[in-house]
Amino acid sequence: MISIQREDVDIGRLIHHAKQRGVGALVVFDGIVRDDDILELELEAYQDIAQKELEQIAHDARERFHLLSVDIIHRIGRLSVGENILIIIVSAGHRKEAYEGSRFILESIKSKVPIWKKELCRNGDRWVPGKRPSDTG
């Protein structure tokens, strides 16, 4: 499941479905709205392009890290502190591939996928600065 959506997902159910033949390690990344003095986070996507890029990233990660399954759910809309923003679930034969594949997907999303975040604060709103193509680390 690769999806950009407003609704939350049931991580337990996704883990259950990721347990297919050959799986020995499964890594879940869950990015959460942190309480940096914000009221809410508002996320916006260039939806059809972002969806295609997530699919491409999942495809590349599968090939490169021999992943057996990849799920990416990126949420958009208004999210409160503690809510899930991004859930990545990967499964592999072994732990190294699972950890590295998960991290590769996360870093690729942060640098490439057209999604933006705005922090809604008590004293005004603020767009989260994005990663410029020339930035490193």
Partner: protein
């Protein structure tokens, strides 16, 4: 010919989600965006510098593919093009 220009994040707040514009033959992508951006001074300044060049952080897509700034200044738009203009991404 009809061209769609989409804006996201801070740019969307100035120009709205998208503007459909009638472009003449041989208009370059850069010129078309400059022309549309004139509608809002603050929005224009967010996208272009004082010399009218795309600010380094501005990302341009033409039909879902990234276009370099230099390329955008030479590429003529064609009927049905969907141009997207946005600031650096911040997903994840």
């Amino acid at each position: 010919m009809k061209i769609t220009i989409k804006f996201f994040a801070r740019f969307r707040e100035r120009f709205g989600n998208e503007i459909v514009i009638e472009a003449t033959e041989r208009t370059t992508l850069g010129d078309l965006v400059r022309q549309v951006a004139m509608r809002d001074r603050e929005g224009y300044d967010a996208i272009f510098d004082s010399k009218g060049a795309f600010r380094t952080y501005v990302i341009i897509m033409q039909n879902g593919r990234r276009t370099e700034h230099g390329e955008a200044e030479h590429t003529p738009v064609i009927e049905g093009d969907v141009i997207a203009i946005f600031p650096p991404v911040a997903g994840g």
